[in-house]
Amino acid sequence: MRWINARPSNGARLALTLAPFALVLIAYAMGSAARLADNANDKLLPGFAGFAEAINRLAFVADPRTGDYILWADTLASLLRLSAGLGISTLIALIIGLLIGMLPYVRSLLAPFVAAVSMVPPLALLPILFIVMGLGEASKVTLIVIGVAPIMIRDLALKALELPREQIIKAETLGGNSWQIGLRVVLPQVLPRLLTCLRLQLGPAWLFLIAAEAISSDSGLGYRIFLVRRYLAMDVIFPYVLWITLLAVLTDYLLDRVRVAVFPWSDLEKQA
């Protein structure tokens, strides 16, 4: 049988899915054990017991100085910034993206501008943001918006443009005006794409968040990682990185579930 036709059984699929994860864990455990055998105080690759101790200290024991549970306080601070940034981006992208996709006048006005803006490296703007907006929350949220919104705008405008011309014509023959066609024909068909687009932008959004937190902050997951870097506290950094990854993966999964639940037709279309 050709390789392109060979399909794994359910059990084999599960085993194949888990294999790379297990391999990474095993490789780490072996590396860690080898280094700890040489030097019991090694900080670079702490053992799993070290992780458990650090996680317990950060997540379940109140910080003696502030009385906060550090992991949860950091998570809350970061998620607030992230959701503010992504929420604002989504709103901007939805409005401007739809206008660009539907109205030729707005397309001529804004499409080239948005295309140019989306090429500006957002991190290069970070100093400007800090100078203009100060070191507070506003500059961090703005960085996420600047980094994420232009790409979302372009994606949604493309999706709106991709709708078959026949559908728009049909809506016109049903008596729709521009507003109604936007509301009942274009918007509902763009929303599932918006959720997918949001999923794809989660990675960049976290990148900008952590970059901003690393440079200037007093809380947040990114702040903590860069703070403890000074003490080579790998037992904190590794769990934090895993936690961030887990949060991102969960959000990604939930957003896709929401799409299927709210827009069941978008899945039917894919299968058809």
Partner: protein, 262 residues
């Protein structure tokens, strides 16, 4: 009444002349089939009737009035594909026209107005034979059922003119024959003029009252750019078919089809 009068219409795209000097009067309640080889401007002609394209020269009158420059609710349309909205159920698709017309701002109906519109939509859905599928999405329907839905969606607006762009071209022969019967019945029942583009001669002669052929009189490669297509044949079906009347000679074939189920 819904007579269409087309006078000396030309359509050019830059240097390319697509249609030249097309003139035709279409009587109210006629069923005109447009046939001809690919690329001879049938669809362009239909798009001009729709208002999607404007003639370069010439005039198109609907009931003596110049045609609006945009598609509007007086002219319904069914395309070969993409005629229905994938994000709406069967009921939602048929209801949409009513909602767009009644609620300019929210484009939705509520309460008694909605109940009444739903009732009307349901009877329209029943008349195209889609009862029981009201809550399905188009992706769950077969190609033939999607085209039935597209017909229901267009007809619920009671258009003066129904424009069909190869609507049944992608259906297999059995389904096509069934939908022909439906199409005939709808034409007999609704007060509208139908213009249909088709590649299928048999379909043209089965359904239409008049078959109009578009062709390029000059079709050598060096002539293609500068000479467009025009009407070369205009055949009135005999014995004549009249909307809403049984034919004298073949009542079974040409008369109003007894409607089933409502």
């Amino acid at each position: 009444m819904s007579a269409i009068s087309i006078k000396d219409v030309w359509k050019e795209y830059g240097d390319q002349i697509v249609l030249e000097n097309v003139s035709i009067d279409i009587a109210s309640r006629a069923f005109v089939a447009l046939v001809g080889p690919s690329g001879c401007g049938k669809t362009t002609f239909l798009r001009m009737l729709l208002g999607q394209e404007r003639p370069t020269r010439g005039t198109i009158l609907l009931d003596g009035e110049p045609l609006p420059a945009e598609p509007g609710p007086d002219r319904g349309v069914v395309f070969q594909r993409y005629s229905v909205f994938p994000h709406l159920t069967v009921l939602g698709n048929v209801l949409l026209g009513k909602e767009l017309r009644a609620a300019r701002l929210s484009a939705r109906l509520f309460g008694a107005a909605r109940r009444q519109a739903v009732e009307e939509a349901r009877s329209m859905i029943a008349s195209v034979g889609l009862s029981g599928s009201e809550d399905k999405y188009p992706a769950q329907l077969s190609g033939g059922m999607q085209q039935r839905l597209a017909l229901a969606q267009a007809l619920v607006m009671r258009p003066k003119v129904l424009l069909l762009d190869e609507p049944f071209g992608a259906l297999d022969p059995g389904i096509r024959a069934e939908i022909h019967v439906l199409m005939k019945r709808l034409w007999h029942d609704a007060p509208m003029t139908v213009v249909m583009v088709t590649h299928d001669m048999r379909e043209a002669f089965t359904l239409a009252t008049r078959v109009v052929a578009f062709e390029r009189p000059r079709d050598r490669p060096e002539e293609k750019l500068r000479y467009g297509a025009s009407i070369t044949k205009d055949i009135t079906i005999w014995p004549p078919r009249k909307a809403g009347e049984a034919s004298l000679i073949r009542p079974d074939r040409d008369g109003p089809v007894p409607s089933q189920g409502h």
